[in-house]
């Protein structure tokens, strides 16, 4: 009897990436760290990159001292117990506030994702301790992912996929998990509807959030110190290149949303 081959997936995270600073060339830093650790990228590899270092490299840093909060931001800030200037930034980055309570604002981000506090981060922002700065999401995470895909693909002569991940809370579950906010090359959602299961029956509803699952896998290796190992390479995933891939495919259309 021929033994079926054990399937496997390997993730590794370069440990020598320096702390990313505004204006840094992320592609250069990542390829240097990989080569320094005798690693390379190969066809089919998927690179998961933490949102935080993409935002930093892109200089998406705002000094709270430069923000003038509106009356609405001040009122909301009092209700959620946040700095009115931070609330102003959240409002500026959002299409709509969906819910709020002490310590959290759930918004529809201008990119369309529903998330807490518009994904704005107040910790770990700059190398020097400075409570007065906030880090916004990348301007266009799909475009950021595409740039990394092109430049790193060229650097290693490999056709790769890129996922930019962030940590999101969920409506009914405790704890944050890694999700994709930007993708390039690899489809965010894989629609298996209409395909057949092992018994030839048609699968009715089997849309899988592939990029979110891989974002979570990357996040599990990054751990909490995503500034120490904010880049993970996933090797062994079976996927087909998709030039039109977009993380925004993961956004449930409002008309199918039963919880707004």
């Amino acid at each position: 009897m021929l033994m079926p081959r054990t399937r496997s997936l390997n993730l590794f995270a370069p440990a020598s990436l320096p702390m990313v600073q505004p204006g840094d060339n992320l592609c250069h830093l990542i390829s240097q760290a990989l080569r320094r650790e005798n690693q390379a990228l190969f066809d089919g590899d998927i690179l998961v990159v933490a949102q935080k270092i993409v935002s930093k490299a892109e200089g998406r840093i705002v000094r709270l001292a430069d923000v003038a909060p509106s009356d609405r931001a001040c009122e909301l800030a009092a209700q959620v117990n946040k700095d009115p200037r931070l609330v102003q930034l959240i409002l500026d980055e959002s299409n709509e506030v969906l819910r709020y309570r002490r310590d959290v604002l759930i918004v529809e981000h201008r990119l369309g994702f529903v998330m807490a506090n518009a994904g704005i981060d107040m910790s770990n922002v700059l190398q020097e301790v400075n409570d007065d700065t906030a880090l916004l999401l990348p301007e266009n995470p799909d475009r950021s992912a595409q740039l990394l895909r092109e430049e790193l693909g060229r650097a290693f002569g490999a056709a790769i996929g890129v996922i930019i991940n962030d940590s999101h809370g969920r409506a009914w579950r405790n704890g944050t998990v890694g999700v994709a906010i930007g993708v390039a090359g690899i489809s965010a959602v894989n629609d298996l509807r209409g395909t057949c299961d092992m018994h030839g029956r048609t699968l009715v509803s089997s849309e899988v959030g592939t990029a979110d699952e891989l974002a979570s896998a990357g996040s599990a290796l990054m751990g909490q110190s995503s500034e120490a190992t904010p880049v993970v390479v996933i090797r062994g995933v079976s996927w087909k290149s998709n030039e039109d891939a977009a993380a925004t495919d993961l956004i449930r259309p409002r008309e199918y949303d039963m919880f707004r």
Copy 2:
């Protein structure tokens, strides 16, 4: 300069597991498949097992012909376009119906998880094609995980963690992702609140849904054919044994739920 060590995570899925049937000894089947493929379990390994095969082994199969739907089930069935007998099973397995629309009922499952259709599966249920059967979630997935942890731990002389995963939809994101519905040994949620970030600043809110991230990683390797490779071993995660671990820790308490 001493080179920092590249961190890594390895996942593998035995490919020779037979189709699981009601009454099967899952521990026996898994250990046999691993040994057949020259694999073993070591201290610190985390085993991710698909809910479907746990439910099957536990015989959680119901023939729809044996179900007498109530008036309420019939009314609801007409609104969501489902078999009234299936709706009756969903109601029987749930504490409360939260939302519904054509093709989907969002419920609070009797275990406390919010999910679609009480996690009841109509596809791939038995080896023979039979549209007339439904597969319920395990009676107590944490207990099922604990049994696998004890028996497989003994079989390989290893201290392991076990996660039983399922595919869940999300409120605002398209596509399902793997989540944990049962755990043993490994904490479902890791509360990093109060610990310090790299700059010595206190992290305010950093509860991570570790078991869900690992469930998603396992799910990414299982792919859609979780009946073909419904078991994944994750090696390389840094975790501490927790005898009181429970997947129900992932359930957000109703008073913190802003979307019911």
